[in-house]
């Protein structure tokens, strides 16, 4: 069987690169839109030029986002082909609707690029808005799928039966015996489930597994994740754009760049106020409720303890204890069922007939569910130092980002009292060029590091499962053993790193370098003589 462990960091690398481009894809339209608005209202061509440069960066960035999206998509179906079962069921509706988003996102982006500067600013803003709407819709749908992997909405009490500390995940709209039979077949044979679902005629034989294909959309975990992730991505894109223009101001001292930084920093601060105290709070509450192991990892709660501040934030009640792994273990021990009892309760035969293959599950009959539960908690606990550190680094940098946003906002937009304090703080950073640049840089650090840490918490924090409480990475990994070989991994890392680092360098060139080598082209076109 393929060892999934070397493939997890590879997938993570692809996802991180994709996330980075997506952040610019989400944030740059806001920044470009602001520039176009200012150009329209003031007629100042500096704003138009800024919009044009950011559009060129968006063009390269979008290409990189698209190919890393392709990589992630193929990574899912190729390296983790067991996910195909989720794509055919819970993820079917979101991914099918994603086609609407992706196709129209690109069509409107191309239309925007082609017509920018050729049509009136409001028309450009309208086209850009349509592009952004489809881009965000794409984010909504992909987040819905990812959220289903975090909190598998629609399986009702299935996960809770195996892990008593977990909540019920929404209504039960699955055929439980079929789902459990698939899981037991995978456990009994030690083979990934893709070896079952690849068989011609298997789906016909199994029949309906999920009764409500739209159920992934009803998840409260998905709803809050959508706002949290999309806002975070917009903030990163905005921060990068702000820092880019602040850097130009720092290098040149040209006031036209400061003029561009000001509205971007203002919009950033407004969005940050919505994200950090409001949306992030609800995200935390969802994690507390739906991912108890993740919350314990985040808080480093090996043992249950009292902390009124964390409890107030997490539960809204300072007297409640922070549930640690000791309590989760107690919950495991309360389960007295065996796999055999579970199979009997679901009327599963001892020998499952699956696509012409007989799978004997009697060897699992005596396995206690409490032992499985405890073993999985041990696996989860191993991630505690990483998740706990990542979470608190994320929180610390988010606070830094928030403070920098506030200082920059009140530095630019005068509010009695607050602006005086902001100016006093800003002066610590040196002259105006330095202070604007350094504060903008803190916006980048205050958004990028929380995002990197946040995704680590979100994704690694749900281990040892790929689908929380239901499936392990080993059950969905490819059966192709050389996928985890050093040769293939080296090839994959090389391609991913070369393309992405090359792409990032190209974006830097596009953003910063002027046209130096156009003589031949101008001569050919008969212009600029």
């Amino acid at each position: 069987m393929t060892n999934p462990n070397p493939l997890l960091p590879l997938s993570a690398l692809g996802v991180y690169f994709h996330g980075m481009y997506i952040s610019l894809t989400f944030g740059l339209p806001v920044a470009i839109g602001i520039m176009l608005w200012k150009w329209w209202r003031t007629g100042d061509s500096d704003y138009y030029k800024a919009a044009r440069i950011m559009t060129a960066v968006l063009g390269v960035n979008f290409a990189l986002g698209a190919i890393t999206g392709t990589l992630v998509e193929f990574g899912l179906v190729q390296v983790w082909p067991g996910v195909n079962l989720a794509i055919a069921t819970f993820a079917f509706a979101p991914l099918a609707l994603e086609l609407i988003a992706f196709a129209n996102e690109i069509a409107f982006l191309v239309l925007f690029i082609v017509t920018l500067g050729r049509v009136k600013p409001p028309t450009s803003i309208a086209i850009l808005s349509l592009y952004a709407a489809f881009a965000y819709f794409s984010g909504v749908l992909i987040t819905a799928v990812n959220s289903w992997m975090q909190a598998p909405w629609g399986v009702g009490p299935v996960a809770k039966t195996l892990y008593p500390f977990m909540p019920e995940y929404g209504p039960n709209v699955v055929d439980v015996p079929k789902l459990v039979a698939l899981k037991l077949a995978a456990v009994a044979t030690g083979q990934p489930i893709s070896l079952l679902i690849e068989k011609p005629g298997f789906a016909q034989e199994v029949g309906i597994v999920l009764k409500d294909p739209m159920v992934a959309f009803y998840s409260p975990y998905a709803l809050v994740s959508i706002f949290h992730n999309i806002l975070a991505a917009i903030l990163i894109g905005m921060a990068v754009a702000t820092a880019g223009w602040a850097y130009r101001y720092f290098k040149t001292g040209d006031q036209k760049y400061l003029k561009i930084v000001k509205p971007l920093a203002g919009a950033f601060a407004v969005l940050f106020v919505i994200q950090a105290p409001i949306v992030a709070h609800f995200m935390g509450e969802a994690v507390v409720h739906y991912n108890p192991t993740k919350f314990a990892l985040m808080e480093g709660a090996e043992k249950t303890y009292h902390d009124p501040i964390i409890a107030l934030v997490a539960y809204g009640d300072p007297n409640k204890p922070i549930i640690g792994f000791d309590e989760l273990e107690k919950a495991c021990m309360s389960n007295t069922l065996t796999v055999g009892d579970l199979a009997k309760a679901l009327n599963l035969p001892q020998t499952l007939k699956l696509a012409g293959q007989s799978v004997d599950i009697s060897s699992l009959a005596s396995v206690k569910l409490s032992d499985l539960c405890l073993a999985d908690l041990q696996k989860a606990k191993a991630y505690m130092p990483l998740i706990h550190t990542a979470y608190y680094v994320k929180v610390a940098f988010a606070i830094i980002g928030g403070l920098a946003a506030a200082v920059l906002f009140f530095y630019f937009y005068k509010v009695p009292g607050l602006s005086a304090i902001a100016s006093a703080i800003a002066r610590i950073f040196g002259d105006e060029k330095r202070r604007v640049f350094l504060l903008a840089l803190l916006l980048v650090l205050g958004t990028v590091i929380p995002a990197v840490g946040g995704w680590a918490v979100r994704e690694i924090g749900r281990k040892p499962w790929s689908v929380y409480g239901l499936l392990y990475p080993s059950e969905i990994v490819t059966p192709v053993s050389y996928a985890a070989s050093p040769g293939f991994l080296a090839f994959a890392y090389l391609i991913i790193l070369a393309v992405n680092l090359g792409g990032l360098y190209a974006m830097y060139l596009v953003a910063t370098r002027g046209y130096k080598f156009l003589e031949l082209l101008k001569k050919g076109a008969g212009v600029g003589k």
């Binding site: 086609l99 609407i100 239309l111 005629g201 029949g207 090359g502 002027g514 001569k523």
Partner: protein, 366 residues
């Protein structure tokens, strides 16, 4: 066939056809653009530089949209035909990895080529353009292995019999090589004709001649590769061969007539272009080449109906590979198809403004 499976089959066919139309345009024109960009640098030829830039517009406008349809194919496959997708990824791991690696190089290098034009040294830019052009051929080198395997399962057959991964075995499938050569010649030829049509709008006889040279030259090569693929179907995929010569014969005849027309008009137009005259046919040659490509793909894939996989003179029905795990919400599928049509309309508008109205400047704006 179950209605959901039928919609899946038709949707997949539509996505494959549109994808192939776009990639046929872009792979060939990418090669042409890289060639003339390099010539411009080597020979300090301003016309070649401008020509490369004009041809490159085809890629910058359509490559991403072409990629969308690739994604649509994947989602249709995984969503509607879960078993075949899983079987393909478990069996054809290497060809798919080659295709993905090529896509990863191809799309960013297109964007980088466009946006760094004039910003980096022409030598470096030419190199990036060559990487962009050649990576385009890696994509069908991977994906055509899947098409060859579903028409004549060599590697998949080995896998199903032994349980062992076949590694590079898909490349020992004789149908792969005939299909790949046929594809490569088709995309280069189509790219040439599309470029010629575009340059005809620009009234540039030298550009028309350059496009037609590639278009007609590789269409002549198709006189070898086309029949080779046709007869290899007879040898290795007789059921598909029978369908092409049976239920799909009328389409096949139309395709042959289109190829003949393309060859004749292309040759006449090329002769005229050599004399500095742009024939009135030229602007129609690009669309005619794309029409021929679409017909070829419909014959290849539609000819398999109602099967998804062909085993000699037998077929494995699409039902065997279809998704029966859910009742597919058909209203949602119709809404999706409607929005995909919207995206085609928007894209066509963008392409019209970019290529016909020439909204994209040849010389980049500062």
């Amino acid at each position: 066939m179950n209605p959901a499976v039928f919609i899946g089959f038709v949707g997949l066919g539509l996505a494959v056809t549109l994808h192939v139309i776009f990639v046929s345009m872009t792979i060939g024109s990418g090669l042409l653009a890289a060639l003339y960009r390099w010539k411009a640098y080597r020979e300090n030829d301003p016309w070649a530089e401008l020509f490369a830039r004009k041809v490159f517009k085809v890629l910058i406008v359509s490559e991403l949209f072409s990629g969308v349809w690739g994604t649509i194919i994947t989602v249709f496959l995984a969503g509607f035909f879960t078993a075949v997708t899983t079987l393909a990824t478990n069996t054809l791991f290497i060809p798919i990895a080659i295709a993905i690696a090529s896509i990863m190089i191809r799309i960013p290098t297109i964007a980088i080529s466009w946006y760094t034009w004039g910003k980096i040294h022409p030598r470096t830019h030419s190199l990036v353009m060559w990487v962009m052009a050649l990576s385009g051929f890696g994509v069908p080198f991977g994906f055509r292995a899947i098409f060859a395997e579903i028409n004549h399962p060599v590697a998949v057959g080995y896998y199903l019999q032994t349980g062992h991964n076949p590694g590079f075995m898909p490349y020992s499938n004789p149908l792969f090589w005939t299909l790949y050569l046929h594809t490569v010649a088709a995309v280069i030829s189509t790219g040439g004709f599309v470029a010629a049509s575009l340059l005809a709008l620009d009234k540039d006889p030298r550009g028309v001649k350059s496009g037609l040279l590639l278009g007609v030259g590789f269409l002549v090569a198709q006189l070898i590769f086309g029949p080779l693929y046709y007869f290899s179907l007879d040898w290795y995929s007789p059921l598909l061969f029978k369908a092409v010569n049976g239920e799909f014969l009328s389409l096949f005849v139309i395709k042959l007539a289109a190829v003949a027309a393309l060859l004749a008009l292309g040759f006449v137009s090329y002769k005229a272009a050599r004399g500095g005259v742009i024939s009135s046919y030229v602007k129609w040659l690009g669309p005619l080449a794309l029409f021929t490509v679409a017909l070829g793909e419909i014959l290849n894939d539609g000819g398999r109906y109602p099967n998804l996989v062909i085993l000699g003179d037998k077929g494995l029905s699409a039902d065997l590979f279809a998704n029966f795990y859910i009742d597919i919400p058909m209203p949602a599928v119709y809404v999706i198809l409607a929005f995909l049509v919207l995206s085609v309309v928007v894209f066509t508008m963008a392409a019209f403004y970019a290529l016909y109205k020439r909204f994209i400047a040849e010389v980049p704006e500062v």
